[in-house]
Amino acid sequence: MVNRNAAEKALNLIRSRLCNPNFIFRPLCDSPDSNYSKLKFIVSSSVTEACNNSVLLLGPRGTGKVAVLELVLEDLLLEYPDMITLSGGVVFQIRLNGLLHSDDNSALKEIARQLCVEHQLVFSKMASFDDNSEFMIAMLRECGLAHKTVVFVLDEFDLFTQGKQRLLYALLDAMQSVTSQAVFIGVSCRLDADQLLEKRVKSRFSHRKLLFLPPSEEEIYRLLDHVLSLPVDSNLPHDYAMEFNAKLHSMFSDERFRQIIDSFMNFSPTVRHLVKFLFRAVSDMDLKLSNLSFENFKSAISSLQRQPKMECLRDCSILELYILVCMKRLEVKEQNSYSFSAVMKEYKSIHDSFQTSDYYSQDVCLRAFEHILQRGLVCFADGRGRIQSTEFRPVKLLISFAELSQGLKAHHLCPAILQKLAA
């Protein structure tokens, strides 16, 4: 029983670790040539030499761009304890997200708002774009005078480049002209993000890019160890932690485990996916068994590696399978565009030639057809909003023939005739 709630504590601990990216990425930071140290160098230089900097953090999703940035900032706050200025540290960040503030007005509003919050000013929603930009520039200047570094973090950077890029221009231009110390950090998962910039913006942008890559294998093992192993000196019972870690390491050395990790690496290499995987594995840790077992990881990877189309096919009823097969046959016949009525025709011809047992009225077939529409196995080939009734709109399959035949095989009570027809 003691064991059990010890296990529960451990579980909670690991889960909270997994949900906290800063913790995850800590071990990847210590090497001197890591992105962490580069970024830290950039920011700290602008803090110390009071200069402006701009950098792009590029890399696929889940490679911890934002997390590393967070680490850098909080470490800087620790390193340069606040001596001169008012609230907050020498560094304070203004976060924007391309999803939320993609249009320039709202972005500038948001900047002004965060500045106001930072300096306990009253933020006015009424202020126009120009007011806000003026205000921002003024604040930048003030901060420059007060030797405070403003870090602009633009998440989903590529979304900011969609419009007229007035915001980017305003920011970068301010950083050119005004004597301030600001760091402009764009975070994007598009590796060509800097190509999206207009000329006037690009010219003001220092083309520093930090590329974030998925972890290598030994990094992954370091992460595993870092995340999963319990701290020996904590409120957890000591011997429990010891044996837990021992089991863990024995499992790491296990060959099957390594296979699992390899297969995992093959389909989704980034750290976030790893976290998901670990979360899944940890979350079905058996509390009575009180430590992680190999089966946990096995089930986790099986539950993460899904084939939605296959599942949909498995859910289909026989009639729906018939309709899918009819559509497949139509597509094999290179009918460039066909509608439900054509499918009905095919269905009927199949029935006439083979005398199948399931031949149903058109209404029922239409209902089944709408079901597979909802499932996303089929879609309309034309744009939405046509007045025409469904049975005349052109449709197309969304699954490959191979998937279809495989699904038919997998389907437990699929009639043999159907597989023959699909072949």
């Binding site: 939320l100 003026e134 205000f135 979360f279 899944r280 009918q335 009905m344 399931d358 079901h371 005349f392």
Partner: protein
């Protein structure tokens, strides 16, 4: 404005203590209407005395076994959900629960939260049919706000932009988590018997997420929802998405970290049997009934709601010969029951819904139920041979001509209508040599198959209409004489006069659809969407030989 601005830079520079600065600021900013949101929202969350308790499911927490017994065939999913939600105060990554309609996703989640007795916020994207309403409903629930007549049915705060939503949401969540933690501390310190909340996690449930794909703002809303936790990053918040379509249908160009998928498969036959039998008066009888019907119907659909909707009247049919429904059927009784159920089964198999009529509550079929669906559409006339709603004669002819116009290729009008010389001047300029109709045919067939009934300009419709009516003159002989006696110069067709009004009527009744405008001349094109049997009925009602004119392939 300039003063405002100067004041700002002044306050940037000198270090007056905060209070005075705020006072000066606010005094200068009296003109500015909307006051600081942070303050008011936090107050609103704190003031509302009905603390997070009414984010609980309500009612008594149910036991896990009850939950499991309530949802037969769903035990693995329930266990998985429990593991993902984790023990008390365990933070979680977002979950994506998906599976076909009526597979118990929503029900299980809600009951699970009832069992766990943890606070959650539920908002279904069907009820909240637009981003604004979705945002506001979430915020309302988080701030325990009820729309009612006193507050003019308004929500706690107006929120349309995603950015506002995220800000408000963060404030509200922080407030709630704080209050949760402190009243946990309270309950720890003083063991009161009043219902307490387990854990300091708050869960946001977004149901029917697949509907968001159809919103016009979907390209921004979906990534927002999926990235919500990384934006908020409050570890005490759990996100749960429920959708009836698999995650890959939500793929967006910018991509996102998919939440943890959790799959609810459609019930298989045994599960369905268990579920359907579950609360029946006479399980034995019902299971014998299911032995008969379940397999054939599962070949059509395995959706629980549809099956139960079909079975409820069918079971009544099944029980008709029985005098007491508590009977436990033996074999031959089963056989007897099955034998007189047989016809009904094939009938119910082929219809999607039935209309009960008020005169005789006996269910009565509304459309062709016979298994030869598309082939014997014509045969469906026999159940109601004459038209069962009123149309004026000219409307009937117009309907027929529209049907012809969209069924026949335009090139064949000449060959169809020349034999009887209608005054088809409108059609003459459109007439082509009819040997090229040969080449037309295949293309025509393709066109008909692919995009259904063809469209036609108004002039063609009227030309055909004139021909038809001139053909059908004899059928309404006396009318013609009647109205000929009153001279209307020009053509002598009584039906012709108000034809445009009739056309508009037909358009309203959705028999003729006003199609897109033809690119060449600006005139709108029409298309008739009447089914063939209806057209035949109409033709029969005016004794018009429709079959002679329809172009058959």
């Amino acid at each position: 404005m300039l003063g405002w601005f100067l004041q700002k830079r002044k306050m940037g520079k000198d270090e007056v203590p905060l209070i005075t600065r705020r006072t000066t600021r606010s005094s200068s900013a009296t003109a500015i209407s909307t006051k600081n949101n942070v303050v008011e929202s936090t107050t609103s969350t704190n003031i509302c005395s009905p603390s997070p308790i009414d984010l609980l499911y309500g009612g008594e927490p149910i036991d896990l076994d009850v939950l499991l017994s309530n949802f037969p065939g769903r035990h693995p999913q329930i266990r998985e959900l429990l593991q993902i939600l984790g023990p008390l105060n365990a933070p979680m990554l977002p979950v994506f629960v998906y599976g076909g309609p009526s597979t118990g996703k929503t029900g299980i989640l809600l009951q699970l939260f009832r069992h766990l007795n943890r606070p959650f916020v539920y908002s279904s994207c069907r009820t909240c049919y637009s981003p604004r309403i979705l945002f506001e409903s979430v915020l309302n629930q988080l701030s325990y706000h009820q729309k009612n007549s006193t507050n003019g049915y308004s929500s706690v705060k107006r929120c349309e932009k995603p950015s506002d939503f995220v800000n408000f949401l963060r404030e509200a969540l922080v407030g709630i988590v704080k209050s949760l933690k402190e009243n946990r501390r309270k309950s720890k310190s003083s063991k009161k018997l009043e219902r307490s909340i387990d854990g300091n996690m708050v869960y946001l449930i977004f149901d029917k997420l697949e509907l968001v794909k159809d919103w016009d703002k979907s390209s921004t809303i979906l990534p927002l929802l999926f990235n919500l936790d990384s934006m908020l990053n409050i570890p005490e918040v759990g996100l749960i998405f429920i959708s009836s379509t698999p995650p890959d249908t939500f793929y967006s160009s910018m991509g996102y970290i998919e939440p943890i998928p959790l799959y609810f498969p459609t019930y298989n036959e045994d599960d369905l049997r268990q579920i359907l039998v579950r609360n029946q008066a006479n399980p034995k009888l019902y299971s014998s009934f299911l032995d008969v019907v379940l397999r054939p119907f599962c070949r059509i659909t395995r959706r629980l709601d549809e099956l139960s909707a079909v079975f409820s009247p069918l079971f009544i049919e099944y029980c008709k010969p029985l005098n007491d429904l508590a009977i436990v059927p033996n074999e031959d009784l089963k056989r007897k029951l099955f034998s007189n159920l047989q016809p009904h089964i094939s009938l119910f198999l082929n219809e999607t819904f039935r209309v009960l009529s008020q005169s005789s509550l006996g269910a009565e079929r509304t459309k062709d139920g016979e298994p030869r669906g598309s082939k014997s559409k014509v045969g469906t006339c026999e159940d109601s041979d004459e038209l069962d709603f009123h149309m004026s004669t000219s409307a009937k002819y117009l309907l027929i001509s529209a049907f012809l116009a969209s069924r026949n290729p335009a090139t064949l009008d000449a060959s169809f209508f020349d034999s009887r010389g209608g005054s088809a001047d409108g059609r003459k300029r459109r007439r082509k040599p009819s040997e090229m109709a040969k080449g037309q045919k295949e293309a025509e067939e393709q066109e008909l198959l692919s995009k259904g009934p063809g469209s036609f300009p108004l002039e063609r419709l009227l030309a055909i209409f004139q021909c038809i009516t001139s053909v059908a003159e004899d059928s309404l002989g006396e009318e013609v004489q009647e109205e000929d006696s009153l001279e209307v110069e020009g053509q002598n067709n009584p039906l012709m006069s108000d034809v445009l009004l009739q056309l508009s009527t037909l358009c309203n009744a959705n028999f003729i659809v006003k199609g897109g405008t033809c690119p060449l001349e600006g005139s709108t094109r029409y298309r008739s969407v009447v089914s063939e049997d209806l057209a035949l009925k109409v033709a029969k009602s005016v004794k018009f030989p429709l079959a002679k004119y329809v172009y058959r392939r």
